[in-house]
């Protein structure tokens, strides 16, 4: 709608054949940029939240990795990678946006360095899986499949790199680091489930969020990137 008004009220409408970007493409690109920025902020806000008790047992869990899973499941691989990467990069550069309002390169010496560095790749992996799920399967299978995707990405990426990081920074063997990592598993299952449910709801509410680019390419003449 924004583009229509822009094209009708000014006399020389931007010509599409001149090789310049069309307004619709520009709007799609600014939306991508805004989504990346806002989801990086979402990870930061969830990382600030104090640990909350969840479930009947009231296990306190922190929500930082929930934001990473959401970035991947909602935005897809590349924008999810960009959002988590922006968060980690700015946190390491020194904005106080990491857990506990800390930040800066010194975090690389801490026990959570491996987990932090794994976040962009977890979002990438979760995004690849989520894109396949949303394109190929029926909506009623989305929640269980997205749950498996989120859990798989977390196990394959976050936990592997996190265990390696603890082993290096805390001076313990890999087996001992593995034992320390077990504490995070129940919370991880709960968070993956919550992320899958929320992402499935969001893809129903905004169907164009993940598959828009693909559809646009199919309907546009070849040659325009």
């Amino acid at each position: 709608m924004v583009f229509n008004s822009r094209m009708t009220d000014t006399s020389p409408a931007p010509s599409r054949a001149s090789g310049s970007q069309s307004p619709a493409r520009g709007a799609a690109r600014t939306l991508d940029l805004a989504l990346i920025g806002v989801f990086a902020a979402l990870i930061a806000v969830l990382a600030f939240a104090p640990p909350i008790p969840v479930g009947n047992a009231g296990v306190p869990i922190t929500l930082q990795s929930l934001g990473v899973a959401l970035a991947g499941l909602v935005l897809g691989p590349w924008r999810g990678f960009a959002a988590a990467g922006l968060y980690v990069t700015l946190g390491l550069l020194g904005l106080p946006i990491l857990a506990g309002f800390s930040g800066g390169l010194g975090v690389l010496a801490g026990p959570s360095a491996g987990y932090l560095l794994a976040f962009p790749f977890t979002a990438l992996l979760a995004g690849l899986g989520a894109r396949a799920v949303v394109r190929r399967s029926r909506p009623r299978w989305w929640i269980p499949l997205l749950f498996l995707v989120a859990l798989g990405a977390s196990v394959l990426c976050t936990h592997v790199l996190g265990i390696a990081g603890m082993s290096v920074n805390l001076g313990v063997t890999l087996a001992e680091a593995f034992v320390m990592d077990i504490v995070f598993w129940p919370g991880d299952v709960i968070k993956s489930l919550a992320a899958a449910a929320a992402a499935a709801l969001l893809h129903r509410a905004y169907p164009a969020l993940l598959v828009r680019h693909d559809r646009q390419r199919r309907h546009s003449p070849a040659g325009r990137r």
Partner: protein
């Protein structure tokens, strides 16, 4: 018939994220952000590679001296310990279980030295100066496909949306509590997520309407 309205209930103070720069104008405040970042990187690398408890302790002492010399209140520097004490307690417990006391001292002093050094830089550097450094660091990576202008704009969008999302998150928490669902993760996250996507769409439209869509 004058209606007396009840005074509005005060809202909880939201976490101040970017008001954390220490006041003052010491020499660390005046040092350029890029230089401070370079110093921090060097210091972190040395401490990480050397792994000497005495060196780490000396660095912590040096940081406290530097903090006093730059006239940064020491309380602001040490308040980091209060915010991350759970993490430090977990590290200490793991060290006492798996390692001998000497290694435990080495690990703890190394982590503390690096975290305090980073905190000193955060306290004396405004966020906008850091964004400039971020942009400058991306510039040489342009042949690899990096877009410094777009990345810096995304970072600005992020800084701008953090207070909004923090308010939204507090609101979602209170709504969940009012419904008796304070232990339900979905009731807390779904309103936050929907609000975030709507906010991103508004921001994207606003940027497109101003023609900001062709950055390097």
């Amino acid at each position: 018939m004058a209606i007396r309205r009840r005074a509005p209930r005060p809202l909880p103070r939201r976490d101040e994220v970017f008001g954390r720069t220490a006041p003052g104008d010491g020499f660390l405040h005046r040092t350029p952000a890029g230089l401070k970042l370079l110093g921090l990187a060097t210091l972190t690398l040395i401490v990480l590679l050397a792994r000497q408890p005495l060196l780490s302790l000396a660095v912590i002492g040096g940081l406290l001296v530097l903090c006093a010399a730059a006239r940064v209140p020491a309380g602001m520097l040490l308040s980091l310990l209060r915010r991350i004490w759970i993490l430090l307690a977990a590290v200490l417990a793991a060290q006492l279980i798996f390692n001998d006391p000497l290694t435990a001292a080495e690990v703890l002093s190394r982590i503390l030295a690096c975290l305090l050094a980073a905190q000193l830089m955060i306290l004396t550097t405004p966020p906008m100066a850091l964004l400039e450094v971020f942009r400058a660091l991306l510039r040489p990576m342009r042949p690899l496909g990096a877009r410094p202008g777009r990345a810096a704009l995304a970072a600005l969008v992020m800084l701008r949306s953090i207070p909004y999302l923090a308010d939204l998150s507090a609101l979602a928490g209170r709504q969940a509590r009012a419904r008796g669902l304070e232990r339900d993760l979905r009731a807390r996250t779904v309103p936050l997520l929907l609000g975030a996507v709507a906010y991103a769409q508004d921001t994207g439209r606003a940027l497109a309407a101003r023609g900001i869509d062709d950055l390097d």
